[in-house]
């Protein structure tokens, strides 16, 4: 029982690591662009959880500042990512990563 | 300033030739530039002091001050004749190419002059870094010369040539970085005075020697040579055989042996054996060829093996013989390859079968060729003789076995050279392959035109005359060439090769160097203030 209770920062870190892993798995396995984009968001959020946890551990709000920055940057990335999806959709009428093979080799 | 001007003049000529709008001027500018360079280079001979073994005509300017790389030039006995050989041959090559090169002539001459400049730079550099700069720089014009104006398989030949040479020089670069880091200087004399520990000597010798032996080329590293010589245009072949390969031998004399004497002595027997193997291999391959340009390429390989043999006897006559043979080889190979180019220009073939009885149609050409072949075969009184005898006798004294094999190789060389002469110039005249059978129906010609093989033109004759005279001059008066360089060879190579009585303690040497650096640094600081 000792590893389940009491809750320590390490619990949060493991949670964050697993969430990161889910995000990575999503990016690697899903060919649907939207899902890939959402998986990227999951990865960034997992990191945010780590930052907040470390902030709590160190008793220093620098981590919170970083998280706010990351939120803004994630918004910017989502914006550009969705724009790319729209541009692609105009060319192909599909949003599947598998369809874009002209550059391989 | 003489040396800088010698490098600068051809560069200037090359730039002018490349930029000048008129194709006609493209011929006169390079000729003027190279001739001026030659005349100017005579100053080197007249002002050279044979009693001084050190560098003369020195110039030093900082090039990359932060790494204390200097633009420093100098000439001593080792490089004197090779520079003069280069400046002597270039105008002749330019003159000899007038008829042969018609397409993109401006680029051709620019490359030729650029090559001359980089060769002179390589020979005159007394800073190791500068030497490497020029050494690698030679590749670029040579790459273009073979690749653009060469024969049908030129691309393969030029890539092979560049890659072989590069492979060697890159390893040399690593060794060079190592050596100069150890000595903490790029200055030739500093490295020269330093004695390296034995294991360092071994590896660095191998790395340096590989670069130079590929260039010479020594027996197993020669695969680039037949292709490059055969495919290059006549002028390019002359530069390759008469000048570029000499730089390999020069590198051995200048860097490899004096820097790493211990390793040089340890490897000398192996290299002598390989040199002799090259002599025999070249000779045997030459007898098998039906293409006479390829034949001559192999004979050149064979003769370069002899030069390497002479150098690695480590005796004064052997070294002198090597240097004289370099000059002689440069002159007669230049002659032979120019003449081959002229034959090709007339018939469009390098096959011995395509010719026959050429002496009747072109007596002057035949006479010049005979003269050069006699030199090459080492007939007494001609350019090849003195060097050969000196090398063979001193090699015999050092180690009899390879010398005897080399003599056998030389007998063979007389045979294939005269076989070539006989097939091409004697016998019954053969028709020009361009005008035979199928061609004749569509393009009927008179009988005279079929056998047409015009004699030397004025510019061709002018290009060959100095070579003919030089071949004789070297044969008749070898001391003219040997005396000025004796002192340098003796002090810079042989002295260094004698086993050192007391090897200086390595740590002490490092300390001494560091002290020297400190003491150098301090006065400079004062000056700044």
């Amino acid at each position: 029982m000792e590893i389940f209770y009491p809750i320590t920062p390490a619990h949060y870190l493991v949670l964050s690591a697993v969430l990161f892993g889910i995000g990575v798995a999503g990016v690697l396995s899903r060919k649907n662009l939207f899902v890939a984009l959402m998986s990227l968001e999951l990865m960034l959020n997992a990191v945010n959880l780590s930052f907040v946890t470390f902030s709590r551990v160190n008793g220093d709000v620098t981590g919170h500042v970083v998280v706010l920055f990351v939120v803004a940057i994630a918004a910017a990335e989502a914006c550009v990512g969705l724009a790319i999806v729209i541009a692609l959709y105009r060319l192909k009428e599909k949003v599947d990563l598998d369809l874009f093979k002209s550059l391989q080799g | 300033m003489i040396l800088s001007i010698l490098i600068g003049l051809p560069v200037l000529g090359a730039v002018l030739a490349a930029f000048f709008p008129q194709e006609r001027a493209a011929k006169t500018i390079p000729l003027l530039a190279s001739a001026t360079t030659f005349i100017f280079s005579l100053l080197l001979y007249t002002r050279f002091d044979p009693a001084n073994a050190g560098f003369q005509f020195q110039e030093i300017y900082p090039l990359v001050p932060r790494f204390s790389i200097n633009y420093s030039l100098g000439v001593d006995g080792l490089s004197l004749w090779l520079i003069l050989l280069t400046t002597f041959l270039t105008p002749l090559v330019v003159l000899g190419s007038f008829g042969a090169v018609t397409q993109n002539a401006r680029g051709y001459y620019a490359c030729l002059l650029f090559l001359e400049a980089s060769v002179i730079g390589t020979l005159a550099a007394t800073d190791l870094f500068l030497f490497y700069l020029f050494w690698e720089l030679m590749l670029i014009p040579a790459f273009f010369l073979i690749g653009v104006w060469g024969g049908p398989h030129r691309v393969k030949a030029t890539i092979k040539f560049v890659l072989f040479t590069m492979a060697g020089s890159l390893l040399m670069l690593v060794a060079l970085i190592y050596v100069t880091h150890e000595v903490r200087s790029f200055d030739y004399t500093k490295v020269f005075d330093y004695s390296f520990p034995q294991d360092v000597q071994f590896w660095c010798f191998l790395a340096f020697a590989l670069a130079f032996l590929i260039k010479v080329p020594l027996f197993p590293f020669h695969a680039w040579l037949p292709d490059a010589y055969t495919e290059a245009p006549a002028g390019g072949t002359v530069m390759l055989s008469a000048v570029l390969v000499k730089l390999g031998a020069y590198g051995l004399l200048r860097f490899c042996i004096p820097f790493f004497p211990y390793a040089a002595r340890a490897f000398s027997h192996w290299i002598m054996l390989l040199a002799v193997a090259g002599v025999v291999h070249g000779a045997l391959m030459a007898t098998l060829q039906t293409d006479f340009k390829r034949l001559t390429a192999y004979s050149s390989l064979s003769h370069m093996g002899l030069i390497t043999l002479g150098i690695f006897t480590f005796s004064l006559p052997g070294l002198q013989g090597g240097v004289v043979q370099m000059i002689g080889h440069g002159v007669y190979m230049a002659g032979i390859f120019l003449l081959i180019g002229m034959l090709y220009q007339r018939r469009g073939s390098h096959q011995m079968d395509a010719y026959g009885g050429a002496a009747q149609a072109a007596p002057l050409l035949a006479a010049a060729m005979l003269w050069m072949l006699l030199s090459a075969a080492g007939l007494p009184g001609f350019a090849g003789f003195v060097g050969e005898i000196l090398i063979l006798t001193s090699a015999y004294k050092t180690w009899a076995f390879p010398a005897l094999v080399a003599i056998a190789g030389f007998v063979l060389s007389a045979w294939y050279l005269f076989n070539f002469y006989g097939k091409v110039f004697l016998g019954t005249p053969k028709a020009n392959p361009d005008n035979t059978k199928t061609n004749r129906k569509t393009n009927p010609k008179k009988d005279e035109e079929i056998f047409l093989l015009p004699d030397l033109s004025l510019s061709e004759g002018l290009a060959l005359l100095p070579l003919v005279l030089a071949a004789l001059w070297i044969g008749l008066n070898p001391n003219f060439f040997m005396d000025p360089i004796e002192k340098s060879l003796d002090l810079k190579v042989i002295e260094k090769l004698k086993p050192q009585p007391v090897m200086m303690d390595f740590a002490a040497q490092q300390r001494r160097l560091q002290d020297e650096m400190e003491s150098n640094r301090q006065p400079r600081k004062k000056n700044n203030n």
């Binding site: 389940f4 009491p6 320590t8 920062p9 390490a10 619990h11 949060y12 870190l13 949670l15 690591a17 697993v18 969430l19 990161f20 892993g21 889910i22 995000g23 990575v24 798995a25 999503g26 396995s29 899903r30 060919k31 649907n32 939207f34 899902v35 984009l37 959402m38 968001e41 999951l42 959020n45 945010n48 959880l49 907040v52 902030s55 709590r56 551990v57 008793g59 709000v61 919170h64 500042v65 998280v67 706010l68 920055f69 803004a72 940057i73 918004a75 910017a76 990335e77 989502a78 914006c79 550009v80 969705l82 724009a83 790319i84 999806v85 729209i86 541009a87 009428e93 949003v95 599947d96 | -």
Partner: protein
């Protein structure tokens, strides 16, 4: 004890929703899963005394980014046939997950000093808008200024990529 119960509930929601995101065929379902995951994250932040971050998480992520994403999904109005179900990629998912668990989790668990040390005592107002704002506008003023350019770039970039005529 309360913290532990909350933590486990939230962790279960977070991971469950995360898995939902990467396994659903319909992107709308994924998006809704993501919203739920973000909400759980916000609650976790609150548990870690990061009040401002928790609020921003809800406002910006759930309120902004997700709306944008759902909007685009609706805009493109994809035909269900276009959305291929996940093929035999379960293996990739499992391996990536296992990798993350096997490598990252234990490394942090076992080796992190944070795992065994009690967290630092908190000052009053830790993680509220004053503390964070104070930090952001003193030590991190320069990157904050640059952040405005990031947003500008995103706007211009989206415009360039998505407008009809070049």
């Amino acid at each position: 004890m309360l913290e532990a119960i909350l933590f486990y509930i939230l962790a279960a929601v977070l991971l469950g929703m995360g898995l939902l995101v990467i396994t659903r065929t319909n992107p709308i379902a994924s998006a809704l899963g993501l919203v739920a995951a973000f909400a759980a994250l916000a609650a976790l932040y609150a548990l870690l005394s990061a009040s401002l971050v928790a609020i921003i998480q809800v406002l910006v992520y759930a309120g902004g980014i997700m709306v944008l994403m759902i909007f685009v999904i609706m805009l493109l109005n994809l035909h269900p046939d276009d959305l291929k179900p996940m093929k035999a990629q379960g293996l990739t998912v499992v391996s990536a997950l296992m990798g993350a668990l096997v490598v990252l989790g234990p490394v942090i668990w076992v080796l992190s000093p944070a795992g065994s040390q009690p967290p630092a005592a908190l000052t009053a107002g830790f993680g509220d808008i004053f503390a964070v704002g104070d930090k952001m506008f003193t030590g991190y003023l320069f990157p904050f200024e640059m952040l405005s350019l990031v947003l500008l770039t995103a706007i211009v970039g989206a415009l360039v990529l998505a407008k009809r005529k070049l």
